[in-house]
Subunit: 474 residues, 2 copies
């Protein structure tokens, strides 16, 4: 599987160069002008080559509910999400494919799937997602979402007495399940990586975090969690620990260079210093943070403090898309309104570095992936610069990141294997995928969610919102 | 040119209905299930019909500089924009076509072009844009951008003595030019509408505003300006008038139900009450407001005050795209972080109404356009709901507004004439357009802008930013 990309545009220093790129044995073996052709020759004229980006946080099965959950904050949104969650592993397989297709066609070659497990069919859920990702060929990081507290434990009590039902699976059972899954599915050689992924402080006990740390150390695998996505979670951490969530996670040794944390909206300066010191990674999910009204993560502060930042789409029912270029654009320009000093603003080249190398570093793979470097694995994306959305010719990376390219991806390779050619995914039949998605769904407008109505009044009271009749969501 | 859309999905109340829609003599003549076929039958199965949206504020010729202007605030960005502005009317023709294509393929059937005029070739510039829009068939609102003060007058002086060069064209000459252009080009019957469009308080004298008001009244045409896009403009208004810009514009009678105002980021509650009272329209340009760090416009407050709001892409070098669906999505979800009470958040159906009827009202055409209503003009867009980005089937409007649809537009009609079919613009050759854009441009990374360096130090001082060496923008 050797090939040579000829006459391709690549970023060099502050400009661009036209070079040839040789790929051999799944790796980049040479980058220079006018190389000999090794293997197949691929014409790169008028095309831009970049390292593949990381969709560094998503929940693939949320694709089944995109477009439908009303505009409410996370705590209420989650109630509705879980009430209508897909219950068949085959659905998980299909939405893993859908998530992969949209990620690939928007510049991503890796996906971190914080995978929601179907109760009672946990291993089947993981198997279904792994099957989908292997079939399509995207590099996949499977992070099964575990918790050991029930959903309403995630809302601050604010001094009220509240009973929480026991979660359906014990702490020990979840850890046992993870160990089985790691033994069965963790296989980096084949592009499938396992992560331990306790959902976050709002629904996990210390025992669960500690069990995950032990697994992470024993198997040398990464850790992935949500962190302080909402103001409610910030309040909850104070109730639960008497200190910030970040201080607590540091105390129990969860934070490390192998730890990536989705959202990180409600951190203070001390918290940020702890992330820097522990070399933890922030995964920025700007679109879901807006959609759910969670807030604007202080990304410029993270960068100034030296914290590694990457981008995620988050699940497709809080976004409601899996378009990585959209997440990168909004996640870059959004912060220009939080700091008047434009010298701090993120440039398009910096965005590319965050999306590629930032993603790789967050998964402890900065030496193997994330840049056009001889010796690194060949996860590559070739963009067609003659696409209308990338014209007229100005700065190709500026056009790609700040524009809204559609169908700009010409080709993509993962580990040197081509899985997108001429703008189409080659490893699966996308028409069949569309047919499955179409036939397994129906147009709906209103769902009656019992869960939201059960918790809404308490939520509004805790958050200091005026009491009022529920809005008819439409 | 009669036709009947059969079995098409349309929004009704809180749900959807499957209906037939008859179009005769450029108007919607009937909407009901199982109508007789009048004219050509068009299959609408698995398609969603909506009124065409308005790209209610853009500057078409900025397309030539998209992707290239560094991340700086408006006042510096403008300096760079003007320094490298296109100087040939033929370029204006081409970028009008490009702007129209991207607008059409993202749900827009109308565009308001706040058109930058080439010095010395003003009428030729307008003629070139009009020619492009007529050729492609989009409904076009031509708003030639005029001013009578030079660019650096737009930065507050903050007590320093600053000399401003005289602007290249006198107030009287600009008004004379507008009158000639109105006589020559204003032709609503053919889909070309003229607007008076003094750029804004930062670069216009009262005499210019007053001359525009007179033309607007005499010819019954609308008024269009920028308003308080940046904090610097808010400071400038206080220096210039001793009151807010909105109070001043009210005093000189510029505000009316025929007035639409782009941006409106820095208004206070009193200003908002004035907009409501005068029935002025706010055009929300969320993407350029983020990209230029201008701020987040208080859109929820406008809606609560009863101010009409529509969406614009703004020019393609501050966005850097002309994708209307992107502007609508971000312009809707962005405000969920400014008000914790989710009962105030904008729902996808409300977004559609803002983008269609809000746009029409802002141009004093609420009775003729902007909704699927019998008797209104047939500016219609048909979306293909079998597109991957709109699957699985949930709430079609939720998917369209909150997702990131690509190639979702199947067909579009303006005034009953089809100009998009099967996802392609039918009235011009888009490949030729791409070729023109490609051949008239070159890939560049760094331009040396003299203008920015001339004003940057003063700008930083006025805005209270620390003195420091200019960043090497890349």
């Amino acid at each position: 599987m050797s090939f040579t990309l000829q006459q391709v545009l690549v970023p060099v220093d502050d400009g661009y160069g036209t070079v040839d790129v040789q790929i051999a044995d799944s790796h980049i073996s040479a980058i220079a002008p006018n190389l000999d052709v090794v293997g197949t020759a691929v014409d790169g004229t008028n095309k831009l080559l970049l390292p593949g980006f990381f969709n560094a946080h998503t929940h693939s099965s949320e694709m089944w509910q995109r477009g439908i959950i009303p505009p409410v904050p996370l705590e209420l949104w989650l109630a509705e999400l879980y009430e209508f969650a897909p219950l068949e592993p085959e659905q998980v397989y299909i939405s893993a494919l859908g998530t992969a297709v949209e990620t690939l066609l928007s510049g991503g070659t890796s996906v971190v799937d914080h995978l929601v497990l179907i109760p009672g069919k946990e291993l089947e859920t993981i198997e279904a997602a792994v099957r989908g990702y292997k079939e399509i060929g995207i590099r996949a990081f499977i992070a099964p979402l575990i918790q050991d507290e029930s959903l309403n434990a995630g809302i601050p009590s604010a001094g009220t007495e509240r009973e929480h039902k026991a979660y359906l699976r014990s702490t020990a059972a979840s850890l046992q399940l993870m160990q089985e899954a790691i033994d069965k599915f963790h296989n980096p050689e084949e592009g499938i990586y396992f992560l331990v992924a306790p959902t976050g402080i709002q629904l996990c006990s210390d025992a669960l975090f500690e069990g995950c740390i032990e697994l992470s150390d024993r198997y040398n695998i990464c850790r992935h969690s949500h962190l302080l996505e909402t103001k409610a979670q910030q309040l909850l951490a104070q109730e639960k620990y008497g200190c910030s969530a970040v201080e607590h996670l540091k105390r129990i040794n969860y934070l490390s260079s192998k730890t990536s944390l989705a959202h990180c909206v409600w951190l203070n300066d001390d918290d940020i210093a702890i992330l820097a010191e522990t070399q933890s990674t922030v995964v920025h999910n700007p679109l879901s943070n807006l959609r759910l009204g969670s807030g604007i993560a202080p990304i410029l502060k993270y960068r100034q403090a030296g914290v590694n930042v990457s981008f995620g789409c988050d699940g497709a029912s809080s976004n409601d898309s899996q378009d990585l270029l959209e997440a990168i654009k909004i996640g870059s320009i959004l912060h220009n309104v939080t700091d008047l000093d434009y010298h701090q603003w993120i440039s398009p080249r910096e965005s590319v570095e965050m999306a590629a190398l930032g993603g790789a570093k967050g998964l402890n793979l900065g030496d193997e992936l994330g840049s056009l470097t001889v010796g690194k694995k060949a996860d590559l994306v070739l963009y067609d610069l003659t696409n209308l959305s990338l014209l007229p010719r100005t700065d190709p990376i500026g056009l790609l990141i700040w524009g809204r390219p559609t169908q700009a991806v010409d080709s993509a390779w993962v580990n040197g294997k081509q899985i997108v050619a001429n703008g189409n995914v080659t490893t699966i039949n996308v028409d069949d995928l569309k047919k499955e998605l179409f036939e397994r769904s129906q147009w709906v407008t209103k769902r009656q969610s019992k869960s939201i109505s059960e918790i809404e009044s308490h939520y509004r009271s805790v958050m200091g919102l005026p009491e009022r009749a529920a809005k008819g969501y439409s």
